[in-house]
Symmetry: C2
Subunit: 312 residues, 2 copies
């Protein structure tokens, strides 16, 4: 496999964990610059209550802007049918519904039991099926806290498999594995990918969403890649974090992830210099937010040559 | 493989890159605490000119202290025969001679061509052979800049293999692969380990020395582990760095490396809580030095269980 898809989640997972609210104009300019750097999929926001997440209040406007960018796949997160309706209205190409495998976390995160999440998944898939075929967004069920939960601790694998099977049965095109809490390790990654694929089919699990909370983010991404995963969520500057894990950093860092793949000869389609220049948007709009990533500080190696082939 | 050996290099590679000089008493207390946390091998210093590296001026005294710690393998770095003589006098159990595969770097680092380094290797192995059998330290030739050089750029693999073969022929027990500059990636790691082992034999290459300059440190360690490498150099707090790579961090972080292996069920023999507590020695003695590592900030996962078996 010589190419992967990097799905930039900074505008959603990153910004929703920042104290400051990034102005709409700055978000648009940032997303445009990310796309110009070669990112082919961006999760631009989530359709949740602006009372809960004021950082996401402009998601409809942001999504419409992003849908105007040629060749960009626009993803959004939704907690329920209402969010999915707004996502469809905005023209999103991909809708992700989070289902916390830890039911305790599910209740805290989107105030829904597993049964209620599955009901939403059914309703969303019906909504999508009612659309003309060429207007239907991809629909992913994201298995949050799949590797463990800060509230419940270790998660029984049987529950992960059951959630995956129910999401697919409810009409999701795919499930994704999310290490929401930074509990994963390379062996657990390999094991759970194999197990979930055995349950729902390899073509129903092609993406992972990893956090770098304990520094294992890229090692976990490597393990997932070697298991055949082709889509990797990440965040510019590692923006984000978890409010319940003090001092923890957030998503895996897009810059370092792209550097890892490109240096391995695996094409991402992303221009590293242009990508790293996008940090300026964050430094200007969110000056108090710490940015992570080692490659931007060290620079590219002398004589570095990116992968030559085209991205997935 | 269910166990690895973590070789802590903070007292050498870490401290020699710090501006401040850690007082001898603080070094001794730190090394003792590291051993008490379960580390079984520590590189305690280097026998180089105190004019060049004043941080290492007390290496003889430090090595003698460390040799008094029950069960601890004491490693030192030496640039030449004279250093090796001092190492033997101090009772070191392992002597490492760096050979920069980049001859440009070799000349800058220890002012020697490849031929001159090989002459030193011959002389050191003769010195070791002259000792009573039970007093002979292990002798490793470390292939520095094996994955690329900040002065030369990419390094021809043939030169790496030739250096490895010459070091073994000169009497080294082993060679090690060092990513001095943070240029490695997981594919290069796998490839070069296979190639060097094909050249000198698998039992002649069991250790790697990795830096986290571009954030790939643990991913590279994972790849090396999966290729059968059993000894991993790392540094508490990621102490160290490279003066010629501004903003770059140094060695891979012992805390995160141990967490990765233990969470994978691979025993290190290290107690993570006690290991993380050792950071206090650095915070007290080197208050201006930035410490790296994610696990110490995030803490251990809820319900975390370390690997049960004994370390290598």
């Amino acid at each position: 496999m010589d190419a992967v898809l990097i799905s930039e989640v900074g505008p959603r997972d990153g910004l929703q964990n920042c104290k400051a609210v990034m102005p709409t104009a700055a978000k648009k300019a940032w997303i445009s610059a990310l796309a110009e750097a070669g990112l082919k999929e961006i999760e631009v926001g989530s359709f949740v209550s602006p009372k809960l997440l004021p950082q996401m209040a402009d998601t409809a406007e942001i999504a419409r802007h992003a849908c105007g960018i040629d060749g960009l796949a626009v993803a959004v997160l939704v907690p329920n049918l209402k969010g999915a309706q707004l996502a469809v209205e905005a023209g999103a190409h991909k809708i992700t519904l989070p289902m916390s495998v830890s039911e305790t976390h599910s209740l805290r995160n989107i105030r829904r039991t597993h049964d209620q999440v599955i009901e939403e998944a059914h309703a969303i898939s019906e909504l999508i099926a009612s659309l003309p075929e060429d207007e239907r967004p991809d629909f992913e069920g994201s298995l949050s806290t799949a590797f463990g939960c800060t509230l419940e601790g270790p998660i029984d694998e049987k529950i992960v498999l059951r959630c995956a099977e129910r999401l697919i049965a409810a009409g999701c095109d795919e499930v994704g594995l999310s290490d929401t809490t930074g509990y994963a390790n390379p062996r657990a990654i390999r094991h759970l990918i194999k197990a979930v694929r055995a349950e729902v089919g390899a073509d129903r699990l092609t993406g992972v969403h990893l956090h770098n909370t304990r520094g294992l983010g890229l090692a976990n991404a490597l393990a997932a890649f070697e298991e055949g995963i082709t889509t990797f969520d990440s965040s510019l500057g590692g923006l984000g974090g978890c409010p319940t894990a003090p001092g923890a950093s957030g998503n895996i860092v897009t810059e370092d992830l792209v550097f890892m793949f490109e240096s391995m000869g695996v094409a991402t389609g992303v221009d590293l210099d242009r990508l790293m220049a996008c940090r300026e948007f964050l430094e200007r709009a969110l000056p108090e937010e710490p940015l992570y990533g080692f490659t931007p500080l060290a620079g590219l190696p002398l004589g570095f040559r990116p992968a030559a082939t085209e991205a997935a």
